[in-house]
């Protein structure tokens, strides 16, 4: 789980896209997923997500993200299928309309989440921050906050795993409990996680201040992020996706 948010070095077509284009492509896929109401189009968008992962040379990561989302998707599918009352019953209280709605909901969830995770796999966080500041004119403190929050996710997951390991060694039966019981055991551990998170955030803030964080402006970065031909191609593809989502 930890490495799901870490950058995978590479020189693929997707890696070479401008970070802003990658953000734009991600947003377009999300908008398209919410614009369309057709199951087939959503399946097509999922195929696009998977294809992006394969072209970027991160097929394993893509598969891991997909597999991780499937667990949540299965739970949501079941919930939607059981709660939707419209349509003709096909099995017990499950209706055909319920199944269709559940299918759309989970496909939408997977389609939206995958590019968000993939963009982090193919873009360095620093590039993402710098491009947001330089190209999108986002104020540096906001871009830094966003990128730091993303950077902290794997660290917090690692910290949580470490806390659970330490508690297991003290006799807390994390290694035997399942489901709700395990969840109830995790709750008291939120205190040490919260304290370590606040402490880490505070240390990062102090370190950033000591390195002249407040002096940083849009022109501080030496690396430039120009748009190239592949970005134009990606933009055309985005346009195609949006048109398709609206018309189909």
């Amino acid at each position: 789980m930890n490495n799901l948010f870490q950058y995978v070095p590479g020189h693929s077509l997707i890696h070479r896209l401008n970070p802003v284009t990658k953000i734009f492509l991600t947003i377009v896929i999300c908008i398209a997923a919410f614009l369309t109401d057709r199951l087939l189009f959503l399946a097509g968008l999922l195929a696009v997500d998977l294809l992006i992962g394969i072209v970027a040379g991160v097929a394993n990561r893509t598969w891991n993200i997909f597999r991780g989302l499937l667990k949540i998707a299965a739970f949501l599918f079941l919930l939607q299928a059981l709660l939707t009352r419209k349509g003709t019953p096909v099995f017990w209280i499950i209706t055909d309309q319920g199944l269709l709605t559940a299918g759309k909901v989970v496909l939408r969830l997977v389609v939206v989440c995958m590019p968000l995770a993939l963009v982090l796999a193919v873009t360095r966080i620093t590039d993402l921050t710098n491009a947001m500041v330089q190209v999108m004119h986002v104020p540096y403190p906001y871009a830094f906050t966003l990128s730091t929050a993303i950077r902290f996710i794997p660290q917090f997951l690692e910290e949580m795993a470490g806390i659970m390991e330490a508690q297991t060694a003290r006799g807390v039966a994390f290694d035997k409990a399942r489901g709700l019981k395990k969840f109830s055991m995790i709750l008291p551990l939120c205190a040490p996680l919260l304290i370590s998170s606040v402490r880490r955030t505070d240390q990062t803030a102090v370190a950033a201040e000591a390195r002249g964080f407040h002096l940083r402006t849009r022109t501080s970065g030496y690396k430039q992020y120009p748009f190239t031909g592949i970005d134009l191609g990606a933009a055309a593809f985005c346009l195609l996706l949006l048109t398709g989502a609206m018309l189909l």
């Binding site: 470490g162 290694d175 008291p188 551990l189 205190a191």
Partner: protein, 274 residues
């Protein structure tokens, strides 16, 4: 007794971290695992507690394979002090923290007995019990973590860099307490440590690792006197040993200030006799 039989371990998508490690620790031993960063020391101690399962080979605690039981079941017999005490501390007061470990593994003893045990441990570690663990200094938090582990009276104590980030006094307080427990209750202690002075002062046996392999296993002073081994394992021996080796003329065997003084007096005696 802990026994590692041809244990190897690899993390996912990485080369082997521990390769074919075999050794046996008897009851009451005080051993230290030495080596540079990435030598496989922490992985080895995590394998010993069953926090990691060996890729091949077996880890036996009192003859039972750790792969066949859970870590939480072993907590009453095996205590593990982590490098970062904040991962262990999860309660609002030191008393609650000590009681948490006791209730988890000694719940069957009854609340009254647990309270008595907590009182004794708090007194021993000079805590009132009402202190907030997260407001304490790093060294004090490490002492809280150690107190909550020792409260359950484990037979085996695994320490992963217990003195990192501590000042000299805090380091001595923690290590003296561990030595007392080792000597009085015959608790088996195995520690990973980068401070060779601490190793020389407290451990009796040293296991040297490099590149995931066990290079040497023997008494601490003997290990430190093997200059080739120290170089291969990228370890700088304690100053007392290094000085003794440099001086020669009988000082090679001096591994403490007392022995150094004894050697000086003996040499003076010989000189006077001549």
């Amino acid at each position: 007794m802990i026994e590692l039989e041809h244990v190897s371990f690899s993390y996912a998508d990485q080369g082997p971290s521990v390769q074919d490690v075999t050794f046996r620790l008897e009851k009451g031993e005080f051993a230290a695992i030495l080596g540079a960063n990435g030598a496989g020391k922490t992985t080895t101690v995590r394998l010993m507690d069953g926090l990691l399962k060996p890729t091949s080979g077996r880890v036996l605690i009192h003859g039972a394979d750790t792969a066949k039981s859970s870590v939480s079941e072993r907590a009453a017999r095996v205590g593990f002090l982590f490098q970062n005490p904040d991962r262990q501390i999860c309660k609002n007061t030191v008393r609650e923290e000590v009681l948490f470990g006791l209730r988890t593994v000694r719940g069957q003893d009854g609340e009254e007995a647990l309270q008595e045990r907590a009182d004794a441990v708090l007194k021993e570690f000079s805590f009132t019990g009402e202190e907030e663990p997260f407001s304490l200094s790093r060294g004090q938090r490490q002492r809280v973590a150690l107190a909550s582990i020792l409260a359950v009276e484990p037979e085996i104590l695994i320490l992963d860099e217990p003195t990192t980030g501590l000042d000299y006094l805090e380091c001595c307080q923690i290590m003296d307490r561990i030595r007392r427990m080792n000597e009085e209750r015959q608790v088996t202690v195995i520690m990973v440590c980068h401070d060779m002075e601490v190793v020389l002062d407290y451990a009796r046996r040293a296991l040297v690792m490099a590149g995931g392999r066990l290079l040497a296993d023997g008494p601490v002073p003997e290990i430190f006197r093997d200059t080739d081994l120290m170089e291969r394992a990228s370890i700088l021996p304690p100053q007392m040993i290094a000085l003794g080796l440099r001086l020669g003329a009988g000082f090679e065997r001096a591994d403490s200030p007392e022995k150094m003084a004894e050697t000086v007096l003996s040499l003076r005696g010989k000189e006077a006799a001549r």
